[in-house]
C-alpha cells in the first residue's frame, strides 16, 4: 500500500469539490471522498506526480458510477441545501452553480477553478475535447442568466 496522508492533505478539497460538483449533495460527496481515498490506499503504485490526476480521475469514475446506479436514479439528486460552511455571500453563486446539470458544473469547476485545459478535462472525463468546449460554453451561458455580470 502507498502512503496517502500527504496527498490526502494536499488534494482533499479538490476531490471534495469535484465530488460535490457531480453529486450536488454534501453527504454523497463525503461518501465519494472516503471511497476514493480508500481506493488510493489500496493502490499498489501510482506514478510519481500523477497523484492528483489519479484522484480526480477516480473521483469522476466513482461519481459517474454512482449517478448511473439504479439507487441514484430512483432517488434522484439529493438536495441537502447549502452547506453550513458556505459563506452567505456565496449563497447565490452556490445555488446558481448547483442548479446546473452535473455535466456543466463539472467542466466549469475543472476549467475555471482547477485550471485544467480542455484537452486535460477531456482525458479526465473520457469525453471529446469538443464536448468539453460545448459544455463550458453552455454552462457559462446558463450561469450568466442567473448571476450578476461580475461573476463571469
Amino acid at each position: 500500500m502507498i502512503s496517502i496522508e500527504e496527498p490526502f492533505h494536499k488534494y482533499k478539497d479538490a476531490v471534495y469539490r469535484l465530488a460535490l460538483s457531480y453529486t450536488k449533495s454534501p453527504a454523497e460527496a463525503e461518501d465519494v471522498c472516503q471511497s476514493v481515498f480508500l481506493k488510493m490506499m489500496e493502490q499498489r503504485c501510482i506514478a510519481p506526480g500523477k497523484e492528483k490526476a489519479w484522484l480526480l480521475q477516480t473521483t469522476a469514475n466513482t461519481c459517474r458510477n454512482l449517478l448511473r446506479s439504479s439507487w441514484w436514479r430512483k432517488t434522484d439528486a439529493l438536495d441537502d441545501g447549502i452547506p453550513a460552511d458556505i459563506s452567505p455571500e456565496y449563497a447565490d453563486v452556490y445555488q446558481a452553480v448547483m442548479a446546473l446539470e452535473p455535466k456543466y458544473r463539472v467542466v466549469i469547476y475543472l476549467r475555471y477553478y482547477e485550471e485544467f485545459s480542455t484537452k486535460e478535462i477531456a482525458q479526465l472525463l473520457h469525453i471529446s475535447q469538443s464536448a468539453v468546449t460545448t459544455r463550458l460554453s453552455r454552462g457559462r451561458e446558463m450561469l450568466k442568466t442567473t448571476l450578476k455580470e461580475g461573476y463571469l
Binding site: M1, I2, I4, E5, F8, K12, D13, V15, Y16, R17, L20, P26, E30, C33, Q34, F37, L38, K39, M41, E42, Q43, R44, C45, I46, A47, K50, E51, A53, W54, Q57, N61, N65, P83, D85, I86, S87, Y90, V93, Y94, V97, I108, Y109, Y112, Y113, Q123, L124, H126, I127, S128, L143, G150, Y151, L152
Partner: protein, 198 residues
C-alpha cells in the same frame, strides 16, 4: 471568473469528514467487510493447502486492491504466516481501458494513453508497474480487430512467481468458448503457468 473562483475556494471538505477519512487511512489493518460490488469470489489455496474458507468478519484480514481495479486480495495473517488468501474479482468496477471516437485508451496506473496504433489482433498492449513491496502488476489490453470489442487481462507476480490474474472479454463470441488470438500471445509472452482459458 474571479468570483466563481472565490466561491470554489470557499468550499472545503467538512472537518468531520476529514477526521473520519484520516482515521480510516491511519489504520493499517481493517476488518474484512464484503462489498456489495463484489460479484464473484474465487478462493484460491495458495499457501499450505489450507481450506479456502470465506470468513466474513474476521480480525486481521488485510484487503489489497490492485491498480486495474478488477482484483482485490484479502489475506489473513497469523504468527504462523499467511493462512488464507481470497481473490475477489469485481466485475462491476470500471476496467483500465475505454474507447472514444474510434480510439482505444489505457487508463491503468493513473495513465491515459492512446494505444490504438500500438495493438493489432495478434499484438496486445502490455503495461507493467511495480510497487514498493515488489509486486509486479502486468496489464494487457487486446482486441479482435474491432476497437470497441477490446478485452483486458491483469496479472500479479512477486518474487518470480505468478500470483493471480483476471480477465474480461477474452473469449471469442464467434467460436464459442475459444479465446481470442491475442490471449495466446499474452500466455506465450508472459509465460503464464496456468492453462489458457478456452
Amino acid at each position: 471568473m474571479n468570483n466563481l473562483t472565490n466561491f470554489f475556494d470557499s468550499v472545503h471538505m467538512p472537518k468531520e469528514c476529514e477526521d473520519r477519512i484520516l482515521n480510516t487511512i491511519s489504520t493499517p489493518r481493517r476488518k474484512f467487510r464484503p462489498s456489495a460490488a463484489v460479484a464473484a469470489v474465487v478462493a484460491l489455496v495458495l499457501v499450505l493447502g489450507m481450506s479456502p474458507t470465506v470468513r466474513a468478519a474476521v480480525e486481521d484480514w488485510i484487503t489489497t486492491r490492485f491498480p486495474g481495479l478488477d482484483l482485490t486480495i484479502q489475506q489473513r495473517t497469523t504468527e504462523e504466516g499467511i493462512e488464507e488468501i481470497i481473490v475477489s474479482i469485481d466485475t462491476e468496477a470500471p476496467t483500465f481501458a475505454y474507447t472514444e471516437n474510434g480510439r482505444l485508451y489505457f487508463t491503468g496506473n493513473g495513465e491515459n494513453l492512446d494505444i490504438t496504433d500500438e495493438i493489432t489482433e495478434e499484438k496486445p498492449y502490455f503495461y507493467t508497474c511495480e510497487d514498493d513491496r515488489g509486486y509486479e502488476i502486468y496489464f494487457v489490453v487486446g482486441y479482435d480487430g474491432t476497437i470497441e470489442n477490446f478485452g483486458t487481462y491483469e496479472f500479479i507476480r512477486k518474487d518470480g512467481q505468478w500470483f493471480t490474474g483476471s480477465g474480461r472479454n477474452f473469449l471469442s463470441s464467434q467460436v464459442e468458448g475459444q479465446a481470442y488470438p491475442w490471449v495466446k500471445v499474452v500466455w506465450d509472452t508472459l509465460n503464464i503457468p496456468w492453462p489458457m482459458p478456452r
